[in-house]
Symmetry: C2
Subunit: 165 residues, 2 copies
DNA sequence: GGCAACCGGTTTGTTATCAAACTATACTGT
DNA sequence: ACAGTATAGTTTGATAACAAACCGGTTGCC
């Protein structure tokens, strides 16, 4: 199916390739856009992670939340929202599920009756440990891919997240 | 609201900050994960782009598709799917809208009756030009943030997209 | 030539997400 | 102290995406 109508327009030279076929289109200007590559990379990474963890009923959004709560006992939903980079309203159902699943507990704030703090239960810590194993495994693959430029990459990504307005 | 219940657990030292408040939680292990930073950065970038373009009724998914079609007249939906990093089924409604909007045209493949090629109409080229202006503007901000490490960053992101399985 | 496996594109169902509207509470300035 | 504004969390509605099931059509193998 690969190249039907594009013999003039495409610069591919591997018609006979036994390989799964790679160069079937011209990225064009898109190829110079950071945003484009950012999306492709994030998407590929996210899917890979989901495939690995999904079959163990570990929802992808959970790891960041559990981890943040674990490292910040008493953290509020708002801080969690900023820390995980998701909208506060996105977190509501996640936290509800964690609450009803018995993985986290709410502690009413003494100073602000609108708010509450979150802590992990024992079950939650256990859950987080399960996740951590999977997540570490996944991120190890990323580490292998980026090699010793990891620090640099993270610094760049952090700058992007912080400075784009 | 910031730090109600965590005075022991958090290492913040700017209770009086007049700034919009930044260090309100401890990233913890998460901070060492490439996947985490990738998601934050992509998300921030995507939102920023959407805010810029959304108000001009330019849907975010459209740019990559229009651009790829523009650079590859006759490209098939499958190639487009791989090129834009989205599932083929995601593309179906996008292409339908572009078709009915008169921005692209289908040309039945001469060799495979299941498939068809896509080309931009004049309206589509015009649309793409509009987008390009906005997209270039957005990506210029990203360029400014990453500076001269752009090539490096893109190389890393490309490797991630290609090699994560 | 015919059957089985594969592949391109569409349909359908589910999910993650944001944004805006809403409620209740807290803060600020006069 | 009170009025107006800002903030925390929830609800509701819209959207973009994937995945699996599906329908031709194609290809390869016997």
């Amino acid at each position: 199916m690969e190249t039907d109508l594009d013999d003039q327009t495409m610069s591919r030279d591997l018609t006979n390739a036994s390989e799964p076929q790679v160069a079937e289109f011209e990225p064009g200007i898109l190829d110079t856009y950071i945003a484009y590559h950012l999306r492709l990379a994030q998407n590929a990474s996210f899917r890979a992670f989901q495939r690995k963890t999904g079959q163990h009923d570990l929802k992808p959004g959970w790891f960041a939340v559990l981890s943040l709560i674990g490292d910040n006992p008493g953290i509020t939903p708002m801080a969690l929202s900023r820390g995980s980079g998701r909208d506060k309203s996105t977190l509501t159902p996640v936290l509800r599920d964690m609450l009803t699943g018995g993985y986290v507990e709410r502690i009413a704030s003494a100073t602000d009756r609108r708010s509450y703090g979150l802590t992990l239960t024992e079950a939650g810590k256990c859950r987080l440990a399960e996740f951590s194993a999977r997540a570490a495994e996944h991120d190890a693959r990323l580490d292998a891919i980026v090699g010793e430029q990891k620090a640099e990459l993270i610094a760049l990504l952090r700058r992007i997240a912080a400075e784009i307005e």
